[in-house]
């Protein structure tokens, strides 16, 4: 039994590495891993339970898939109405996002996975860490600072681990303030984390000025110096020469982080208590779950996850901190988490979707001169359609679809009679 799981995992890892390194045959390994895992699950659960689970999964993903398709259709209508060719634009969108610039898609998704996980973790505890952007910034600042100042005599891997730990610690510490305020005074974390996010952002130019190049040439640097290259995250190219040169191993870290988050939430006592608190704080308190302590822990872990996004971005891609770092990964993480219905593993896919829309959108704008804003519109519609899921429920409950069908049927009857 366990052999099958391990085999599937190995296949999946090998497949992803190969795929990311531009050996697209890796995709076959990924499919193989999926089939193997399905086989193992079926053996474990029995045929009936397995079919039911697959059905449940299909049902769960039905609404998102329909939402995306409808959003694309509405986007096409808007384009057609404003004088752009939707067919050409979508051709470019898909070609750019999935084929031509697929590595940009992956690079976009990496920080989004981390911030999405951050939002989800807090959300499972009933907390809305809306200021993940701030923890992202603190992660960027700390890893840039250490990347510039750590002794070059340190072994490369040790430096990277150290930087990650320091960034996570900083992200967690930043959330100590909202956590304490929440536990002791009841101040809502939406307000406090958001305020802190703006505070940290306002502080960042000071930091850049302190590490920004030669003061003789520029008194207002727009970026810090580049961090020492021994602390850069390894590139796929260094293992597999055919890989695209910018692609770093951050995506693997992000995927691991997603599974670790899932494990913590679903299989540990800590995760159990955090979820109990999130679903029903009163029952949690009644049965002795330490509410203040769990609130604090959830917010700290959430902060650490968001800071990992910053560290990965600095060590893997930017290698410095920019002043106009207007990435909004923290804010977008909220959309990603909502879209994934707070399922850590689903976040990998929703982040990739968002990344693909961004990457494809840029390509589309360049090639077909369709404004990039259309992508933001599509994203907005997707979110709207998914969050109004309760709308479907209501319509279903009141028999709207049925009534509609009946009305059509009776109209037809009348027509026939006429």
């Amino acid at each position: 039994m366990i052999v099958l799981h391990v085999l599937a995992l190995l296949l999946a890892v090998a497949g992803s590495v190969l795929y990311l390194a531009s050996y697209f045959e890796g995709g076959l390994l990924l499919i193989g891993a999926l089939v193997l895992e399905g086989f193992a699950q079926r053996k474990k659960l029995g045929k009936a339970a397995f079919t039911q689970q697959v059905k449940g999964l299909a049902q769960k993903s039905l609404v998102p898939v329909v939402g995306i398709v409808v959003a694309l259709v509405i986007g096409a209508i808007i384009m057609a109405l404003t004088g752009y060719d939707p067919v050409k634009a979508y051709e470019a969108l898909f070609y750019g996002g999935l084929i031509k610039n697929w590595h940009v898609t992956v690079l976009n998704a990496v920080p989004l996975i981390f911030t999405g996980l951050a939002i989800t973790f807090a959300f499972q505890g009933g907390l809305f860490n809306i200021g993940a952007e701030g923890q992202y910034y603190i992660g960027v600042i700390v890893s840039t600072w250490l990347g510039l100042t750590l002794s070059p005599s340190l072994p490369s891997w040790f430096g990277i681990v150290l930087i990650y730990l320091a960034a996570m610690l900083a992200g967690a510490l930043l959330n100590v303030i909202p956590a304490l305020l929440k536990v002791n005074t009841g101040a809502h974390e939406v307000v406090t984390t958001m305020m802190l996010a703006y505070t940290v952002r306002t502080l960042s130019p000071l930091f850049i000025r302190a590490f920004g190049g030669d003061p003789k040439t520029s008194s207002h640097p727009l970026a810090t110096d580049a961090i020492k290259d021994r602390f850069w995250l390894p590139l796929f190219q260094s293992i597999l020469p055919e890989a695209i040169y910018r692609l770093h191993i951050g995506i693997l870290l992000a995927i691991v982080a997603a599974f670790v988050t899932r494990y913590i939430l679903r299989s540990t006592n800590l995760g159990y208590k955090i979820r109990a608190l999130g679903y029903n704080p009163k029952a949690a308190r009644t049965y002795g779950i330490p509410v203040g302590w769990m609130t604090t822990t959830a917010l700290l872990i959430s902060g650490a996850l968001a800071a990992m996004a910053g560290a990965t971005q600095v060590l893997g891609l930017d290698h410095r901190m920019f002043q106009d770092l207007n990435a909004g990964y923290g804010w977008n993480g909220i959309s990603i988490a909502l879209l994934a219905q707070n399922n850590p593993v689903a976040i990998i896919f929703t982040a990739l979707l968002w990344g693909a829309l961004d990457a494809g959108g840029q390509y589309m704008a360049r090639v077909t001169h369709t404004p990039n804003a259309i992508i933001e519109i599509i994203k907005g519609i997707i979110l709207f359609l998914l969050l109004s899921e309760s709308l479907y429920e209501q319509l279903k409950k009141h028999g709207f679809w049925k009534r509609w069908g009946r009305r059509r049927a009776s109209r037809k009857q009348k027509e026939v009679a006429a």
Partner: protein, 513 residues
């Protein structure tokens, strides 16, 4: 108060299906002018579905409804209201900060040039309350009114809309016994004035004491129609459940009372959340192997007593001793670990985590214990087998341990709470309102389980607003009135009338005797 002969409302062969489920199966009922009708049934018998059909919320799959002899087909509650139907829901549909008048006229405001004529409205409300004898202050904000008066506002709302048929869904669920009496007075007056009334309830005694006729529903079918003056509670109970029911459970004799009490409250004073004294110098003790029942009208300090005993609120003075240790300043976690079990009054808000599975709910408050959890990692297999075992042992009817608790029926949900708390192997158990909203079968089962624990030597503190419940299982009875224990006695040495007297009049009752 003899009802007239004129038929006001009539359903003919109403059937309602939801997919495969037949919620109402060929139901024909008849309501006469000035009559009070009770529709009796267990939870899930189809009472609410029937009312929702009458009120235009659902359309029947087949069958028809006649109002004043004319076929009607309501497509929405709005049409039902316009035709003269008034509904008082179990959960009131009021806007708390608005005044009584504003609530009553909401949606039907007398308007001139875009302005609401409040003076005219107020006069109308006063006139209405005089005519039907429903005393109320038209200017009081609804949120300041006690529950009984809020319900009165709901009734007035229906009357303001000229309702000739009044439907009340579980009207006594939230009322104190005194308020129930008042409500019944009002309903009798309304009926005498020609309003026809339908009461939906699962409480036998109430159906018998207020209604002229009783219809009994069971699993969607109409199983009996009875004249309330001739039916007996036992007869009705049998019809509701579909088999003979033992209404009184056998009460095992308590084990020895010579030992030191397991829980002892000494001069306990607790303030409510609003800072008012809620418990005043409460002295109580619970011994192993006995059930101490706390009777009292809702809001006389029961909430605070629960919270103080389980450790969810601080105490002002006095002490709580458990197994001869002062636990006054222990938190709930420590108390639970020391062997205190708790079945809270409201299973939805405090007893269960509804979106969790059965397995997850059954380890609430024990997720730290091996073998369920080792080194902070949960053992899924142990947790599931724990659930399977308890589901069998406590007759929880659910498909799998991974079933979400929110999908279970009220009775099964309560069994989950009971299973979890009883399987903690508690030495002391605090139980509050264990059978609220449950049907007769489930009540019987839960009493049986509580008695089993008592025989095993667990000390039990039972808090209940229902006197029958207290007398059904408690060995000793104490009455809480305005935060004070005004009466204490062995169960066999007192009577329901005596305890009721103390519940309503407190210390005054003692002087009267």
């Amino acid at each position: 108060m003899t009802p007239g002969q004129q038929n006001v409302l009539e359903t003919q062969h109403i059937t309602k299906r939801f997919g495969h489920l037949v919620a109402n199966d060929d139901i024909s009922i008849l309501l006469k002018k000035g009559e009070i009708l009770a529709i009796l049934g267990e939870n899930g018998a189809g009472k609410t579905t029937l009312m929702n059909i009458l009120f235009g919320l659902y359309r029947p799959t087949s069958g028809s409804i006649k109002l004043q002899g004319v076929d009607v087909n309501f497509r929405s509650p709005r049409e039902a209201i316009a035709a003269g139907l008034g509904m008082v829901h179990q959960h009131f549909m009021l806007v708390p900060p608005l005044t009584v008048t504003q609530n009553i006229i909401l949606g039907q405001e007398p308007v001139k040039n875009g302005h609401i004529l409040y003076d005219k409205a107020k006069k109308e409300v006063q006139e209405l309350s005089r005519r039907f004898g429903l005393e109320i202050d038209p200017d009081a904000p609804v949120m300041d009114l006690p529950v009984g008066l809020q319900q009165r506002v709901e009734i007035l709302k229906a009357l303001y809309r000229k309702a000739s048929v009044l439907i009340l869904d579980e009207p006594t669920a939230v009322l104190s016994p005194r308020e129930v009496e008042e409500l019944f007075e009002v309903l009798k007056k309304l009926a005498a004035n020609g309003t026809s009334i339908i009461i939906i309830t699962h409480k036998l005694e109430e159906a018998l004491s207020i209604a002229n006729r009783v219809y009994v529903l069971r699993r969607g079918k109409l199983v009996a129609e009875m004249d309330a003056t001739r039916a007996t509670p036992q007869e009705l109970a049998n019809q509701m459940v579909g088999r003979p029911v033992v209404l009184s459970v056998e009460k095992p004799t308590p084990t020895s009372r010579d030992t030191a009490p397991i829980l002892k409250l000494e001069k306990l004073c607790v303030r409510s959340q609003r800072g008012l004294p809620a418990l005043v110098n409460v002295d109580l003790s619970v011994h192993r192997g006995e059930i101490l029942g706390i009777a009292g009208v809702e809001g006389n300090g029961q909430d605070e007593l629960c919270k103080a005993v389980i450790g969810l609120c601080g105490i002002e003075s006095g002490s709580i001793r458990y197994k001869d240790k002062d636990i006054s300043h222990w938190n709930s976690r420590r108390r639970i670990e020391a062997g205190v079990g708790y079945i809270p009054e409201d299973r939805h808000t405090s007893g269960l985590v509804l979106p969790f599975t059965l397995s997850e709910n059954l380890i609430l408050g024990k997720s730290d214990r091996p073998p369920l959890c080792r080194h902070g990692i949960l053992n899924k297999r142990e947790i599931d087998s724990n659930a399977t075992k308890l589901m069998q042992q406590y007759d929880v009817r659910a498909e799998r341990p991974s079933t979400t608790v929110s999908t279970l029926s009220g009775g099964n949900q309560q069994k989950v709470v009971v299973a979890r708390e009883f399987s903690r192997n508690p030495d002391f158990l605090l139980i509050s309102q264990p059978t609220r909203g449950l049907d007769v079968g489930a009540i019987e089962y839960i009493y049986k389980k509580i008695n089993e624990l008592k025989v095993q030597g667990v000390g039990i503190l039972l808090i209940s607003m229902e006197l029958e419940e207290i007398f059904a299982i408690a060995d000793r009875i104490a009455v809480l009135h305005k935060g004070e224990v005004v009466f204490e006695s062995l169960a066999q040495a007192t009577s329901q009338t005596e305890v009721g007297e103390y519940m309503f009049r407190g210390k005054l009752a003692r002087r009267a005797q």
